[in-house]
């Protein structure tokens, strides 16, 4: 139901939304979903200083298999898109990505990763593995809170990325609670959430990408990651814009 409404909203807002002419058409449908509701002051400063370090911490859905996987996965696409959008700024995206990690495991590795990368922004993808293992949702939320605090005390802003929408495994992985919890923690902690789940679901419903496909080929996966990288770059740029304060949404 909610997704149907989002779809309707998306169609309505296609006309009203800001024009991002440079995007491939398939990414566009999800643009209303990336309106950031909180700002990224550290990123703003880093952009002013012409030097933006970003650390992506994530699990298996932040990477692609194969030899060219690292270059085509969304962290690399994010760096590419940001470098395009922020001419003259030295953008560097480093990753700490290992498949099968829960939020709690990532939090443990976080201080070292932050110390090594000294980022102005932590992009934190999590939720899928916790859902698969059925980690206690309270503990999951606590891990998110903890990770956000650690990043902030290391001088970094945070953007959360929730799980992928995966129609084939929908009846096997109960993502609902974890997706909701991330939304809630993001609001409480005043951190922008990159709602990958809703975006991909919208793509699935509009037929932008065939997410049901049993293909072993990488082409759709690469396009999806490319679009995610671009949309995230848009979100980061608009959340870091110093002049117009973004709308302060809450639940």
């Amino acid at each position: 139901m909610r997704k149907r409404l989002l779809l309707l909203l998306a169609l309505l807002m296609l006309g009203a939304g800001p024009a991002w002419a440079e995007h491939p058409a398939e990414c566009r449908v999800a643009e209303n979903l990336i309106e950031p509701n909180f700002r990224l002051p550290h990123v703003t400063r880093a952009v002013d200083a012409k030097h933006l370090n970003i650390l992506v911490v994530g699990a298996g859905s932040s990477q692609l298999p194969g030899s060219s996987g690292a270059g085509n996965a969304y962290p690399a696409r994010l760096q590419h898109a940001l470098a395009d959008r922020l001419r003259g700024v030295d953008v560097k995206v480093t990753t700490d990505v290992k498949s099968g990690r829960t939020a709690a495991e990532m939090v443990k590795a976080l201080p070292d990763a932050l110390a090594a990368a000294t980022p102005a922004l932590l992009v934190w993808q999590t939720g899928t593995v916790d859902a698969m293992l059925g980690v206690d949702p309270d503990l999951f939320s606590q891990s998110l809170d903890k990770g956000i605090k650690i990043a902030r005390s290391a001088g970094a802003d945070v953007v959360l990325i929730n799980a992928q929408y995966s129609p084939r495994t929908e009846s096997m992985i109960a993502l609902g609670t974890y997706v909701e919890d991330m939304r809630w923690v993001a609001l409480q902690q005043e951190v922008p959430l990159f709602d990958r789940f809703s975006i991909m679901k919208l793509w699935g419903e509009l037929g932008t990408f065939d997410l049901y496909s049993a293909t072993k080929k990488l082409d759709i996966a690469e396009q999806v990651h490319d679009c995610i990288g671009r949309l995230m770059a848009d979100m980061v740029v608009s959340a870091a814009k110093p002049e117009e304060p973004p709308t302060n949404g809450s639940r």
Binding site: L5, L64, G66, S99, I173, A221
Partner: protein, 386 residues
């Protein structure tokens, strides 16, 4: 205290049947039709209805058995029922394993390598199946039957107490609920975490249903039918509805004061949040107020499909879980267009009704013909099972 009425209350069957349909619809992921289900319009969902009515009917059936045949016989029958449900759960598990094994051998999209990790447990089926038999490993949407089993195991002593000191039984149940919140009691699950439906929490609704069946509802009826209560219930439902709307139209959320949100969220399903109980109670009050027990329409053909499903709840529930797997399978393999989703939803309900009707017919035929005799303690209810 004696069970008040000897005639089965068709409203129970009707609403349990409807709850079973809603559970079926909710269990099909990405189903356009599940916008009709009540969880979209407030805090509680069909699970509350199912658990409450199950407690009510359990007290109705086994309360009489306990009065006529004593504690031991009635307990033995409750345990037999728990065993039947356990067997049904294992049967569903087998179907689930078949489905998941099929997906793991047919689907290998590089976009979803992480998600395919959910199939890793197929690599050590010994551990997984053992954990499943211990009710610790519960695949998605298979959490209700294990809860039901535990509720029945806990039921004989509660029923004993309910028949002697109903208020004390209710207080005991409420205390367990309160202690659960205080000490965060729950049972462990596999591979990690805890039970999705915390039995220490959900037993409250089950025992409350039983308490209502054994005369509690009669005692409350003056309250339930008072205009003030009905007004409060409607007010609360409207409040829950407006909050639910902010989930779909985030822009409305700015009208919700921050302190209300802070006090309200997260609305905990695992531990049966008080907001959910209140929402269920409000629904129940409205239902009881506007649907009288002797409403003639209850005997008409319009409600017969839901009633017959409610009368064979275990079979219908299991079938519903299976059909929701099958429905999702159709979405992935055939088509996920909205038309398909509508057809699958209605076909699923039609199958549930057909099978429930068949079971009903079969029971009657068995009773008439030379088949095994129904238990002597249950005369008078057609399909009068728990």
């Amino acid at each position: 205290m004696a069970p008040v009425s000897t005639e089965r209350d068709l409203r129970l069957d009707l609403f349990r049947g409807l709850a079973l349909w809603l559970i079926f619809l909710d269990h099909i992921p990405s189903n356009a039709v599940n916008w009709v289900t009540i969880r979209n319009y407030g805090f509680s969902d069909a699970t509350e209805i199912f658990v409450f009515i199950s407690g009510y009917t359990a007290a109705f059936v086994y309360g009489r058995a306990m009065q006529q045949h004593g504690f031991i016989v009635a307990s033995a029958r409750v345990l037999k029922r728990a065993w039947q449900i356990y067997v049904a759960h294992v049967f569903l598990l087998a179907i689930y394993l078949a489905e998941i094994a099929y997906v793991s051998s047919s689907f290998d999209n590089p976009l979803y390598t992480e998600e395919m990790g959910v199939l890793n447990f197929l690599k050590n089926p010994d551990v997984t199946i053992l954990q499943a038999l211990l009710l610790k490993f519960k695949p998605v949407n298979m959490d209700v039957l294990p809860l039901y089993i535990l509720l029945l195991l806990w039921f004989p002593p509660m029923l004993w107490l309910l028949l002697r000191a109903p208020s004390l039984a209710l207080i005991t149940s409420a205390s367990v609920y309160a202690l659960m919140w205080l000490f965060e009691w729950n049972l462990p699950a596999y591979p990690s975490g805890t039970w999705l439906f915390n039995p220490f929490a959900w037993q409250l609704l089950f025992v409350f249903g039983a308490w209502c069946a054994l005369g509690g509802a009669e005692n409350l009826s003056r309250w339930i039918h008072s205009p003030v209560m009905i007004g409060l219930a409607i007010g609360y439902l409207v409040f829950a509805f407006s909050i639910a709307m902010t989930w779909y139209f985030p822009r409305l959320a700015m009208y919700v004061p921050k302190w209300v949100g802070d006090a309200m969220y997260p609305i905990d399903k695992t531990n049966l949040d008080v907001l959910r109980i209140m929402h269920f109670l409000a629904l129940a009050i409205i239902t009881v107020a506007f649907v009288p027990r002797d409403w003639p329409a209850l005997k008409s053909w319009v409600f017969w499909p839901a009633i017959v499903c409610g009368q064979h709840s275990l079979e219908t529930f299991c079938l519903g879980v299976f059909l929701s797997f099958a429905g999702h399978f159709v979405f992935t393999e055939v088509s996920n267009r909205v038309v398909t989703q509508i057809i699958v939803s209605f076909a699923g309900i039609a199958i549930m009704v057909a099978v429930a009707a068949l079971i009903s017919w079969y029971r009657q035929a068995e009773r008439r013909g030379g088949g095994p005799r129904p238990p002597a303690a249950k005369p008078g209810y057609a399909g009068g099972e728990l």
